[in-house]
Symmetry: C2
Subunit: 509 residues, 2 copies
């Protein structure tokens, strides 16, 4: 029995009580998204979509600054295209939306599919198959390389169990597709993408990541190398936040992406692909949300500051709104992270307290309440979402504009540091035997199975078959072989066999 | 027999010779898009997609500045949703992509659709059906109105005959969907959208439009009022460039979008929807292209200026590139239309002449060629795409940065004026009898049927049945009842019956 008096929070249940359910409630309370009547498909609401738009703007600039161009390819992929790359189809063609008809007809007062297609079309689960087909036409000579293309698009994978943002049948993403003269140039590209993602995810989303390479069994279907960025959520599970693949010449061979090299020979190109998706928004919520709702890092917040005019009596309305206007004219001159401050005055016909709680749950970084008393004192009452909900800071109007950029930066860095501490604390490196490993991933309290464990970093023998026998019952996977390892020789923490690389082991989304 | 010596042009055939084929050739030569192996679906290439991205940025800002928020809704619409609004389904559900299965299985070494869905899903041809469903959950009280939502998305309509950008099975667009307390507020919204579109299309795309209302038979399925913007292409046919619909309470009733008004009564909302699509890019090409390829108006050009270093001998390369760098450091300080100048140095390993012609065909507004002679003279040779291909302007380096914004504005305005003159010249208002009307729309030279006619503006009796008998054989339609008419009474130019409004008649895409 719980004897301590519970603190009332805006979100029920709390993270501690039921993390998966807490997540669903925060997504809803923060007005990020909701389930749609279409199985597995979500509706991304304006506040959540605003975060995605900021992610897009930040990443799109990086993509263009590194020499890539955006283009757009068909939503549909003819069935026969998928059959070309055998491994790829095994990985992807299983669960997908299949278009078989191109018309509806009324029969007995009901609409039924008609006009059967000669060849069914697949709604793209990823676009290697169709983009490669175009590349084979565009690439003729080494002068056409590197070919650096990116696409912002929706994709569909018929997932059986879906969860808002984290795993949905339809999701939004960008997919980079590039072709190169050789492996060296292609691998450079793979790392350029990883670099862009690391900066996006750490510097803007304030989510620390471990960068590494997937073991062979976890590679993208058809890839030679899959690099990834792994983040730790508050339940200490891993979330794959982005991937970048070196596809070798596998796709080039099945899709005939050939070119005349500078020795006059016809050779196959080396290709890459890389992507991040709306899943990042899920990772953002699971990293920064708390028991009162979401906390959005300032750099990706649709609004960084909201003004809530508090009008106790109708006759004071004009006065309060005039003062709000004075405050916004100051705010309009404030910049943060090289962009004008994004602020909003919430004039809705609602009680002040209701508004406050809505913005707390949405996670706007800074709230400013303006009431009649503030006018006299030429001041504002400011609340930071990274502090206690009732903690207010009184600021003079004179100092407000000057203090805001530093305050936003403090919030941004604070959220990152909090997540970094979690990642560091719960990435353990002192597990050396199987028993300790198994204990680490087994909940001690079966009534609270949600938050326990973390990442284990330890030596691994690279025998995937043996490893799977140990990991599968624990529902643990190898997240990556982290980059930047020094050479060493020791014993695999799972099998005791000789091992020379370290891996990250974790439960994952 | 043609006796004049033909001028050689970059595009064959010329507009005069075969306008539809000229269009296809320009789209290809300008590297805007190409057909994909997926029936009716196009690949939008980087230069064409760059134009679309600029259109998006311009319009998205207008959409947000007028209080709308972006969101994202599912790609799929359950079949039963389409059955709710009878007129809507008649107009839309006919030709569409139908998803009937959610898996592929291997049978006898071939992939076949499996996992039949209980209810087929339609790939959205437009999103009223799914967005309305969500609106019915979001709208409870008059305080929730107006609800102003926009979506950037891909949509699919299974067109039988497709043409790049103008009519493709899949296309990209934005669709605004709004709900209001009453007709007045909704009609205001319809006109807000029209205003945004007019500014986008005239001020940025440099395409003059006639704004008006569709006659009942041409309305969007389910709409009470459809407003539209009609442009004239160079073959003098009309292109519908954008539409904005007042849907009355039709969709609100079928979708149960109800709210408690300020008298405490449950009433149905009044809704609107409005959209423009990648079709605008087709309209841009058909308006501004010439017999040497495309001419992109500066405000939407992905690059407004390109520098082509001309290197006659290898040993001069360093010198020429150093001078190019000097030029770009000047350009980096230039702004046009409140944005930094978009320029590019084409360093590709290609002959100067080939590069020049590629950029002519792509329609970059200004080309600057830099050769060894220019370095001595501290000058550049500048070519404007709106002038003859061989016309070069010599400019001193000192004056370049200062002159560019004015020059770009001159090109922008010149393209608009050229199109405006065409619209004015070929919109005739002096046709008063049926015979003249029929002659106007009948090609005089059957060997050159492509460029003739134009718009007829004249009084119309509003009898759609009678009108259709005359218009259908001519393949002419009523494009709109133009806005801003003064009241008058006269005779219908088609039927001779009493008429009080003027209409625009034209052949159309």
């Amino acid at each position: 029995m719980n004897t301590t008096k519970p603190i009332q929070t805006a979100i029920t249940p709390t993270r501690e009580q039921d993390y998966p359910e807490w997540y669903q409630q925060v997504v809803k309370a923060a007005d990020f998204a909701e389930n749609s009547p279409v199985r597995g498909c979500m509706v991304i609401k304006p506040w959540g979509y605003g975060v995605w738009e900021n992610i897009q703007a930040i990443l799109d600039k990086k993509i263009k600054d590194t020499g890539h161009e955006n283009a757009y390819f068909p939503l549909f992929i003819p069935l026969s295209f998928l059959e070309k790359e055998a491994k790829h189809v095994q990985g992807f063609a299983k669960e997908c939306a299949v278009v078989t008809h191109h018309r509806l007809e009324e029969r007995n007062g009901k609409l039924v599919p008609a006009g059967e297609l000669e060849e069914p079309l697949i709604v793209r689960p990823t676009s290697e198959a169709i983009i490669g087909e175009m590349f084979s036409k565009w690439v003729k000579s080494y002068r056409d390389l590197p070919l650096l293309i990116n696409q912002w698009a929706n994709v569909v994978r018929w997932e059986m169990r879906t969860r808002l943002f984290l795993r949905t049948a339809e999701f939004l993403w960008q997919e980079g597709h590039t072709a190169h003269v050789d492996e060296e140039d292609a691998m450079k590209e793979v790392n350029v993408a990883v670099g862009m993602y690391k900066s996006l995810i750490e510097d803007y989303l304030a989510i620390p990541v471990i960068v590494g390479e997937k073991p062979p069994s976890e590679r993208f279907p058809g890839a030679v190398v899959t690099k990834c960025l792994e983040a730790m959520m508050q339940d200490r599970k891993a979330l794959q936040a982005g991937t970048s693949h070196y596809l070798g010449q596998n796709f080039a061979k099945s899709q005939e992406i050939k070119f005349l090299n500078n020795c006059g020979e016809q050779v196959y190109a080396h290709t890459t692909s890389w992507g991040v998706s709306t899943r990042l928004v899920g990772g953002l919520i699971m990293t920064h949300g708390d028991d009162d709702g979401m906390r959005v890092p300032p750099k990706v917040a649709p609004k960084q500051l909201v003004i809530i005019p508090v009008i106790p009596k109708q006759e004071l309305e004009e006065q309060v709104l005039a003062y709000s206007k004075e405050v916004t004219s100051l705010l309009s001159k404030v910049s943060y992270a090289d962009q004008p401050l994004r602020y909003h005055v919430d004039k809705r016909d609602l009680k002040g307290g209701d508004k406050t709680w809505q913005w707390v749950k949405k996670g706007v970084p800074i709230r400013i309440e303006i009431g009649p008393r503030d006018i006299e004192g030429r001041q504002v009452m400011l609340c930071r979402r990274d502090r206690g909900v009732k903690e207010k800071i009184q600021l003079s109007l004179d100092s407000l504009a000057e203090l805001l950029p530093g305050m936003l930066e403090e919030i941004q860095n604070g959220l990152f540091q909090e997540a970094k501490n979690r990642l560091d604390t719960y990435t353990v490196t002192n597990i050396n035997c199987l028993e300790d490993f198994q204990n680490f991933f087994t909940a001690k309290n079966p009534n609270k199975p949600e938050i326990h464990g973390g990442f284990v970093r330890g030596l691994w023998c690279e025998d995937e078959e043996e490893t799977a026998k140990i990991l599968d019952p624990l529902k643990v996977t190898i997240r990556c072989i982290p980059d930047g390892q020094e050479e060493r020789i020791g014993k695999c923490i799972l099998t005791g066999r000789p091992a020379k690389i370290e891996a990250i082991f974790a439960k994952a989304y």
